[in-house]
Every structure is written in C-alpha cells, then in structure tokens.
Assembly symmetry: C2
Amino acid sequence: MLYEFKDLIDPMMLPHRRKYLYYYIVGLVDGEGCFSISIKKQEDTRFGWVIDPVFHVTQRKEKALVLYLLKKVFNCGRIIPKPGQENSMLQYVVDARRSLVEKIIPFFKKHKPIIKWEEFKNFAEIVERLERGEHKNFKGFKNLLEKAYQLSQKSSYKLNDILLEIERRVGASETIRRAPDKGEDMVQP
Amino acid sequence: MLYEFKDLIDPMMLPHRRKYLYYYIVGLVDGEGCFSISIKKQEDTRFGWVIDPVFHVTQRKEKALVLYLLKKVFNCGRIIPKPGQENSMLQYVVDARRSLVEKIIPFFKKHKPIIKWEEFKNFAEIVERLERGEHKNFKGFKNLLEKAYQLSQKSSYKLNDILLEIERRVGASETIRRAPDKGEDMVQP
C-alpha cells in the first residue's frame, strides 16, 4: 500500500501500487490536464516575446487533494488559485523548464495519454527545442514561434504582427545582434 | 500488450496491462465521469416519478475513441450525442440497472475514484436500494426520493411538491394500492 501519501489521504483510498497510481494520473490528466503553449509579450527579453510551455491540472477547491497528490508524485510544481476563478478553482502548475524536461515529459513519454497524445507530443517537442536553445537565434525563434502559434489555443495576437514586430526590433538593435554568448541566457527565463 | 483493443487503437498507445488500463479509466472517470442521480416525471409509473441513476462520461467528438474503449472494457452501455451539445460532444452512457449492478459498481468498488468517491458511494447506495426493490412501496420510495433529491445536482422541482403530488396520487387511487405483486415490476423501468 502507498503509505507514503498517508499525510494526504487514507492509503485504503489509493491504488495499491505506485504503477497503478501512475496510470490513474495519466487518466486524470487525459481528462483534466493541459499541456499548454502560450506566446507572451515580455519586453525584457531579446525578441520581446517568449514561448511559454506550462503543464497544468485544474480542480475544484474542495477536491484539490488530488492536486497535492500530483505535486507529491511529480515532486515539482506548485498549487495556485486558478487565474480568473480564484474563489472556486485551484491549479497544479509546472512551468519551470527543468521540471518539465526532467520530470513531466519523461513521465508522459513512458505513461502515454490517449486523448491528449498529440497535444503532449507537440508540447514535448517545443520544450525540447527550447532546451536545445533553438530560440536563441532569430531564425530558430521564428520557427518555434510558428509551431507554438499553431498550438496555442487562442492568441490575442496575429502571428504576422508578432513576426514583424520582432524583425523591427532585431533590425533596429545592433547591440543585441552583437551580444556576447553568456548574455543569451537572459533571452528566456 | 492489449491486442484485444487493436480494432480501436494501436496497442503501443495503451498501457501494457489490463490492470493499468483499469487505473487509467479510474483517473479519466475521476476527471470527466459522472455518477448522476436524477428525479424524473414519468406518468406511466406507480408514483408518477422515477429515480434515474446514470453513469456517463463525456468527450469531444474528435476524441471519442476513449469512449469506445470504455464501452469495450465495461462491455455494456452505449455512445450517444450529448443532449444539448449534439454537434460537438459524445457521451458514453450506462443506465440499464443490470449493467450498473453487475459491471459499473463492482468495478469502481474495486478501483476507487479519489475525487468522486463520495458521489460514487451515494450512487451505488441508491442503485442497490432500487435493486432491492425499496422503491416499490410508498415509504421506501419517499426515503429514496429524499436521498436522491440531496444528490441530484439541480432539480427543477421542489421535493415537497413532488412528495405532495405522490401522496395525492397514491391516496386517490385505490386500484393502485391493491395492485397485484407482479404489476409492481412496472413501477420503474
């Protein structure tokens, strides 16, 4: 029995094995989870925009126990009031790239979502390309942005407007073009 | 590998063992499933009302594969357009008492939902009380109705109005009071 979660929940209420709990989590995430990619304006970055991958699972406040279970299983992330529904909903959120690369993505590659497989695959691809630093030069960032734009459910911006803005920004700033390598770590937090 | 589902899905996309798939289903149902009890007006029944337990799982049409998987695993139920959202959503529905008693309830007693445990427990209790025939006499029906009323998410009727109507109906109809036992199978479909 999974006594390791007994501070959260009576072990009798949990699957008897860790592997079973993992598949419970895949099912739950296939229903309520989201592998989200958003594109955000962020002036203090090289291109003025960031591609922001976030894994999150939402639940009503009174049922939030399951979010604490996720946090304990994945050993990363945080639980916050859901933006826009602060009074009734909580959200388990993982947005740190390190946690996505080392914990979330390997887990769901091994224990595959069924409904959200395509969503997850695209999410993992973007995170891994960011991890390889493809966003650090203009061409790579543009390619990533195009892919991310297809995936982001709704964007308040038009892709062409974003690209034009970035081109203007990059063209206008010789200092950025000549920035030393170590400075590039600042491109995306 | 679960080759038995290969007409639906590439076995590589499924958990490797049936037990894992079962826990995937618990997780999915904990997110997207519903153990629903509703109270419905139905003139051709003894008391004019029925208590209607339904297990259902809803999914977007393009992701409905998972509903066919449920249907195959539980070997009961049917898939229908979701009432009110016929164009975009499908629903896996089990409402036959036999299937609830023999398949759905034993499954979730063995593989417990975490978020929906209370909802499931109440659902199972009502179904089992109906199965014992507690709804066949006025007192039993009234007790069941009170319990069902607490659980039904929203009812367009007030409990007292329903009870008054039933009392009037039962009081007014001596023929129903004297109905032979075999006729009682008609009370609830």
